[in-house]
Symmetry: C2
Subunit: 260 residues, 2 copies
């Protein structure tokens, strides 16, 4: 087998920039960005990487994940050192899945490329940290956008998650294009969990626009969420501790009926 | 109200050290450790923090979470700058929930203490990154230990998670004290998901002992997991891409029946 240039030099790192604060970006991600020739991603995330000589920044639109992934893979095959950036963690409703979809459907030679995924602080765990420990016991994580799956599947998962008594984390609760989805999600959750269940809205955590709110399903309004909001719902055991400002929220480590 | 010394000086930071590699520890966690007077935690995690003058390291046993949390809160009330360390993220089956349990049950004055939770790279997302993007769509996260909850609840959650067609991440699959739990979990999953479903074993990711394996529920053996292993199970849509070595595994972003 002859040696291609890209086998020696090109690489792809699919990285998570965390929720916003520089202090939450891991050193391995910072190092990858320092060695990259190209940064690829949704434009607002690419803009979080400062420009420097030798680095080309390729920002693209929100719904272009597959095209963006193919572009990155082609550049890597051509010998570039490419970083694909996502906010939060790249494996949670972000670019990793799109890259592997493009890899599977693309040129067979791409499978030999040097690819690494570097995890980041997910929006879900950053939100949980700000609130205390609402995900301190078994939980699930659901993307509420029906862009890529039918609403019936979302509703089925909400009902089963409530029956399993999971704490829940919701990504993409609401956009201007589909404001009605979150209204329906709140209705389903109220039916399944009752009006006293705790719900938390964590917007833009770790950025200057951070805003965190704790309320109940009975008092929750759809307008409390937007596309930058991570929504958390407690399990039946989740508790809050009043203090000055936003209360702490936590889900205990033990469930009734345990032997210890 | 008179001013206590601790109101001026003491603080508690509950931090995640990530799965093992230094390059995955966030700068804000590194900064907290540099300013701390005391580090508290399970002994093997405390040992990950290098000793230095002015820092006291308090390592304790595995099942001492509440006592450890109370000890930390008392030290903070006494003006110490205390970091409680967990592996991975502190909010996922780790010390955050224990601290808030101790806070709620403890002295009312503790609620005014300066407490922050600093998220870390969770074992689950580090494992997912090594494998590709197995948690690239809706997923759940379950602690398989029945130390603090009845086995019946674990089994119920496994069955409902399978019915919801979540990808799944399992913490604490197996210990010497209870080897039979994971045997039963595998049986339940085989019944509910069928023998072809992908299962992944990610041991000690990002450490020198890292070992990653991809197989199917039909071929999985309980011995493939130990207490340092994070186990992932795909949804019905999860795919693998053969390549040299461990295959990539990913869960596509879209589900059948979506409009786009």
């Amino acid at each position: 087998m002859r040696t291609h240039e890209w086998e020696k030099d090109g690489w792809l790192k699919i990285v998570g920039l965390g929720p916003g604060a520089e202090a939450m970006i891991t050193p391995e991600v910072t190092a990858a960005l320092a060695e990259a020739t190209d940064v690829v991603g949704y434009a607002p995330y690419v803009e979080r990487v400062p420009p420097r000589p030798g680095l080309t920044r390729h920002g693209s639109d929100n719904r272009e994940e597959i095209r963006r992934a193919e572009q990155a893979l082609r550049m890597v095959a051509g010998g570039h050192r490419v970083v694909i950036v996502s906010s939060g963690d790249p494996g949670v409703f972000a670019m990793s899945a799109a890259v592997f979809e493009a890899l599977e459907a693309g040129e067979p030679a791409w499978r030999a490329l040097d690819i690494q995924v570097l995890p980041g602080i997910s929006a879900m765990l950053a939100a949980s940290a700000r609130l205390g420990a609402p995900l301190g016991h078994d939980f699930c994580c659901i993307n509420l956008s029906d862009n890529l799956k039918p609403w019936a599947l979302i509703e089925k998962r909400l009902r089963l998650a409530a029956e399993a008594d999971f704490a829940m984390a919701f990504y993409n609760p609401r956009s201007k294009a589909r404001p009605e989805g979150f209204v329906r999600a709140l209705q389903v959750l109220r039916e399944a969990c009752g009006p006293e269940r705790l719900i938390m809205f964590a917007r833009a955590v770790s950025t200057p626009e951070e805003a965190v709110r704790v309320t109940t399903l009975g008092d929750a309004e759809p307008e409390m969420a937007d596309m930058r909001t991570l929504v958390l719902v407690g399990s039946s055991l989740t508790r809050h501790i009043a203090r000055e400002g936003v209360p702490w929220v936590y889900t205990p480590r033990s469930a009734p009926g345990s032997e210890s």
